[in-house]
Amino acid sequence: MGFRDVLSPFTAWKHVIDTPVTIKNPIGREAAERYRGFHQNDVDKCIGCGSCEDICQNAAIDMVAFAEPKPGDSGLRPNIDYGRCCWCALCVDVCMTGSLTMSNEYTWVDSDPDAFRFTPGVDAKPWDDIEKGYQRAGERMLTGLARPEMVEMAPEARADNFDEIVAGYSREQAVLEADRCVECGLCVATCPAHMDIPDYIAAIREGDYDLGTQILYETNPFSEVCGRVCTHKCETVCAAAHEGEPIAIRWLKRHIIDNVSEERRLEIVGTPQVASSGRKVAVIGAGPAGLTTAYDLARSGHKVVVYEAKDQPGGMTRYGIPEYRLPYDALDRDINVIKAQGVEIKTGVRIGNDIALDKLKAENDAVVLAIGLHLGRSTRVPGSDGAGVEAAIDLLARVTAGEAVPVPEKVAVIGGGNVAMDIARTMGRLQMQKYGKVGVTVTALEDFDHFLADKEEVKESFEEQIEILDGRGPQEVVRFKSGKQKGMVKGLKTWKVVSIFDRDGRFAPQYDEGDEVVHEAEMVIEAIGQMADVSLLGAELTEALEWNRGRIAVDAEGRTSEAWLWAGGDAVRGPDVIHAVADGHRIAASVNVALMAGKEAGA
C-alpha cells in the first residue's frame, strides 16, 4: 500500500463535470423494436381458437364474446388481465393465425385497476397501430406446421387396378399428426354430424383406440367410409390451416378404425339395450343417410327395414365412389355393425316398382326417404343425345356391379368435380388394363383456381396420366357426318372459358369463341351434376308434397309436409356423405320422438 492508493481514488472527481446519464422523463421513452409491450390483436384475423388462453401460464387470458360465431371462428376474442400477464409472449408465439402481437408500448398510467383488463383490438388503445413490438420471428414453432405424408401406392403401381391407394397412417404418423391438434374444437361446429373431433384425436395420442371407436360411433356409424372419403369440411376451418396444413382429421378418423378389429368394434358398439317398442319404420335407400337413420332407430328399439333398389347396400358410397378410394370390404364393415343392431336390409327392391309406396305407408309407423341422387345430368349440347355419350354416374354404378362397360381408347369427360375425377380415373384404369395406356381428357368449366374437385383428386389424376383441361365450356359432341363411322362420336368441341364468375363470385361464364378445340374421343362422359329420381313418389304425392327449389321440402328435423314421411340425405341436402349421416341422426331422433309419442297416445 502506498501513496498512490491514497491519491488514486480522487480521480473519481473527474466525473463531476460529466453530463448526467439519467433519462429526465422516462415516460414516453420508446422501447426497442422487439419489445414485449401491450398486446395488439387483429380481430379480423383472429379466429377465437383460445390457444393463447391455453398456453398462458398465468391464467391472464379469458375468451370473451365479440361477434356471433361463424364457421371457423368462435366469435370469441382474448381479454387480457394485465394484473396477471408476465409479458412472456407465449400467446403470440402460439397464435394460430398470427393475429396476436405485442406493441412496444409499455408505459400506461391509470387510477382504475380494471382499466388494465381489456380485449386487444376490440377496446381501442393508443398503441393499436404501433408497428414496432414483438412479433413471432418466423412461422409457428410451437404447434407443428406440416402433416406427415400419407403413404400411397405409386402411380405406376395403381394405374391398372382398383386397389386402395391410401395406406392409412402408421401409429407413429398418427401420433405425430394427432399431436398437432390444439383442441380448439372450431371444427366441431362445421362438421355436419358435429363429431367430437378433438376428443377422438386425443384418444389417438393416448393410444386408446377403444375409446376412439366409442367416440366415433357416438356421432357416426360410417367411420370406415368417412375416414376415407369424407369431404372433411372440418379441415377447411381447422385453426392449423391458417399457417401450415390443417390437421388430417379424416385420416386420423380412419386410423382409429383401422386399429380396431371388426369383432372388437361390435363389442364396443354393442347391440340395442332397450326393449322393443313394437313400432315399425321403413327406410327407402340404403345409403349413409338411410342406414344411419336405421342404426339410430334400431338402437332405440324400433323394427327397421331398409329397402334398397340396387343389389348391395351402401348407396353412392358403393356405386358412386370407386373401389380404389373406398374398398367395398371397408364399407361392408361399417354396414355389418349397423346390421348387428337388428336392421334388416332388403336389397334389389325398388319402391314404386316392386312395392308401392302406399303399401309401405300402410304397413309402417313411419317412412323415411333417403334415395340419393342417382340420375346424371346432361349438358344437352348438340350431339349429346345418342350412342357414345354416357352419364358418369351410370358408368360408375355399372363398374361396381361388375357389368361390362365400353372402354374405348379415347374418352372425353365433361365436368370438374369429384365425380368427373372418379370416372376419369376409373376409365383410365380400364384403359390401362385393355390397351396398356390411358386416353382420358377431362374438360372442366371451372379454372384450377375455382376447381370443384379436391386438390388431391386432381393431383392423383395427373399422376395417373389423365389430361385435365380447365376453363373449357362444352359446345357440341361432334359426330362423324359420313363414312363407315357415320353418327358415331368423333370428339367433343369446347370453347375457352375466359372467366367463369363475375366480380360478385356469381356464375357468369364468358367464352372466347375463337379458342375452339375438338377433343378427339370415341366416347363422351358427362359428369356435370346429378338429380334425384323422385318418380317413385307418383303424381299424387308429388303434388301433395311441399317442395323447396326442386327438392322435397323438409323442416329442421327432416319432416316433409306429410306427417308419415321424412326425407333426407343427398336428395334433400345435396351430395355429401357426412351431411347424409348428420341427416340420418336428425331424422332418427325426430322419428323416434314421433313414434314414442304415438306409442303413448296409442297405449
Binding site: G48, C49, G50, E53, I61, D62, M63, V64, A65, E68, P69, S74, G75, L76, D81, G83, D114, R117, C184, G185, L186, V188, A189, H194, P198, A556, R586
Partner: protein
C-alpha cells in the same frame, strides 16, 4: 474415468441397480441397500474423487409410495457427475441417515428436505429449524399431495368479473344448441 468400470467396481461391494448412462459425463444409479449409503458416499468421495456434493434433493413418487433421494456427486478432474438415488418408504414419519458430517453443506439440504418434504435427518444441525416457511402448519408443501391451486384458492380471492368461454361449447350454444 470410465463410469461403466466404476459402477462395476462398486457393484462388487454395494447393491446397485442398473445404471443409466444419461450422457458421457452424467450417470444415474440406484442404491438398493439404503444402509450402505454412508459407506458408499465416503468411498466415492475419498477413493473415487467425487468430492463435490452438487445437490441433494427428493422426488415424490406418490403413486409408488416412495420418496427418491438424489445425491448428485461430481468428480471435477474426471468431469463426471453421478446421481446416486435411494428410495424411502413414503409413510410418516420418514427418516433417513444424515450426511452432514461427510459434507457440512448437506445440513442446508437436509433442513430444506425436512421442511418441504417432511423427510427428517436426525442429528443434522438445525434440522428442525424453520428454513423458508414460518408458522407453516399444513403438510410439507413440496409433497405431491399438497395442492398449490387449492391452497391459493383458499388463501387468495379471485379477481371479480372474470369469466371465459370454451370456443367449442360457445359455438355449440350459439350455432346448434339442439344438436
Amino acid at each position: 474415468m470410465d463410469m461403466r468400470e466404476l459402477i462395476e467396481r462398486l457393484t462388487s461391494r454395494h447393491k446397485l441397480g442398473a445404471p443409466i448412462f444419461q450422457r458421457p459425463d452424467l450417470t444415474f444409479v440406484d442404491l438398493t441397500d439404503n444402509d450402505r449409503l454412508r459407506a458408499l458416499l465416503v468411498e466415492l468421495r475419498d477413493i473415487e474423487g467425487f468430492t463435490h456434493l452438487v445437490l441433494l434433493t427428493a422426488v415424490d413418487w406418490i403413486e409408488e409410495g416412495k420418496f427418491q433421494l438424489t445425491y448428485m456427486l461430481n468428480n471435477r478432474a474426471a468431469n463426471q457427475t453421478l446421481g446416486l438415488r435411494v428410495y424411502l418408504e413414503r409413510k410418516d414419519p420418514v427418516e433417513f441417515t444424515s450426511i452432514h458430517d461427510i459434507w457440512p453443506t448437506a445440513e442446508t439440504y437436509q433442513r430444506e428436505l425436512r421442511e418441504m418434504f417432511g423427510i427428517n435427518f436426525p442429528g443434522s444441525p438445525r434440522v428442525m429449524d424453520e428454513f423458508i416457511l414460518e408458522g407453516w402448519t399444513d403438510m410439507p408443501p413440496y409433497r405431491r399431495d399438497f395442492d398449490t391451486l387449492a391452497y391459493s384458492q383458499q388463501t387468495y380471492r379471485d379477481r371479480p368479473g372474470r369469466a371465459t368461454n370454451d370456443p367449442r361449447d360457445h359455438m355449440k350454444s350459439k350455432m346448434y344448441p339442439e344438436g
